[in-house]
Symmetry: C2
Subunit: 213 residues, 2 copies
């Protein structure tokens, strides 16, 4: 099936403006191919077929499959966009929870478990890259929550990790407890499901604290 | 590859004592086959090959692939064993958290996302079965935590779901933030990782509550 891996045109080729739509299409396809086939089956050929982006165009953007997959994994959990107000805790946590929804329903759902199973097989440098992405995401979320605790929006002493972990767990358990035939509705409207998880956790933490004598 | 699906000997065949070790081997193999190939690729042939249990023996135990997979999914999250003391919150939660560890590292890691993606494709009755298993597990966990809140081991007003979700999220995020090369150590000793997650959440909930003025 696979074509011989002919080396594509060099990255210096001119006269073609960058096209972010192609980047996104290629990276989304890369996540799907990786989820379905894992590291062993992940190749420029497979991503080119899935995305209908030519192999030459892929090689112009990413020199090898490590770089291609790392760029795709950045897409799996993006930091809050520039327009997000870091002082709006609920909005920022909802944006993050939406990405957790997206990680467990829909076409990306096999990606995280593949990473968890296979990272010990990756080239060491690539495993570092994946870990760096994950740590940056957690650090950003922790910082948001820490600031909200300081502002008094959450009980004093609430560990930021507790908030983040509870939201992640809530998103997941609500998905698990939804009948399969209704699950596509969650995938179609992740922000509603994400906001419900965030509201539940914020209210639960404040209630548990205030009912203490 | 696949042999013709010859109907095996009927279940009334005598003279062979039940062998629980074969059941476990078949069900573990069923989980792995399902995780790798999904519902479409899940077959008695594939499970027989993987488990080295004959197809006839499989058919004697489970009449069709729905029953075989449902039995395997029961194994994915077992209720606490009979010897577990329901008044020992930490021990019971740790047993449950261990199963969450097991869901995200090692050979079962693709099973949950497969269920989440594919349940809308299952025969309706089978989706019901899966949901019944999930609900029973959550109900049991909720009940344990509720009783502990009543005994005063957790702040009054702590919603049981918050505790369960926070532990699930903590197990998952600690796995994600572990370097890939060290992740097999978690798989090899899930109870240590599980206990760390439970202790973190129980302490965090009690601290957040007690630091409130």
């Amino acid at each position: 099936m696979a074509e011989p891996a002919s080396r594509p045109a060099p990255a210096t080729r001119k006269g073609r403006p960058p096209d972010p739509e192609i980047d996104q299409r290629a990276l989304r396809a890369a996540l799907q191919v990786y989820g379905e086939l894992g590291w062993a089956g992940f190749s420029f050929d497979a991503v080119a077929r899935r995305s209908r982006v030519g192999k030459a165009a892929l090689y112009r953007r990413w020199p090898d499959k490590e770089h291609l997959l790392a760029a795709a994994l950045e897409l799996l959990a993006e930091p809050p966009p520039d327009w997000a107000d870091p002082a709006d805790l609920r909005a920022c946590l909802t944006l993050m929870a939406e990405q957790v929804v997206d990680m467990f329903v829909g076409p990306k759902a096999l990606v995280l478990p593949r990473v968890l199973i296979e990272a010990s097989l990756y080239p060491p440098l690539f495993d570092e890259t994946v870990l760096t992405i994950a740590r940056a995401r957690f650090d950003a979320a922790r910082e948001l929550v820490r600031a909200a605790v300081e502002r008094g929006e959450l009980p004093a002493g609430t560990p930021p990790e507790l908030v983040i972990d509870a939201i992640t767990g809530r998103v997941l358990s609500a998905i698990v407890l939804t009948p399969g035939r209704e699950r596509p509705r969650i995938a179609a409207d992740p922000s509603r499901h994400a906001a419900a998880a965030v509201d539940f956790v914020l209210a639960a933490l404040n209630d548990a604290s205030s009912s203490k004598e």
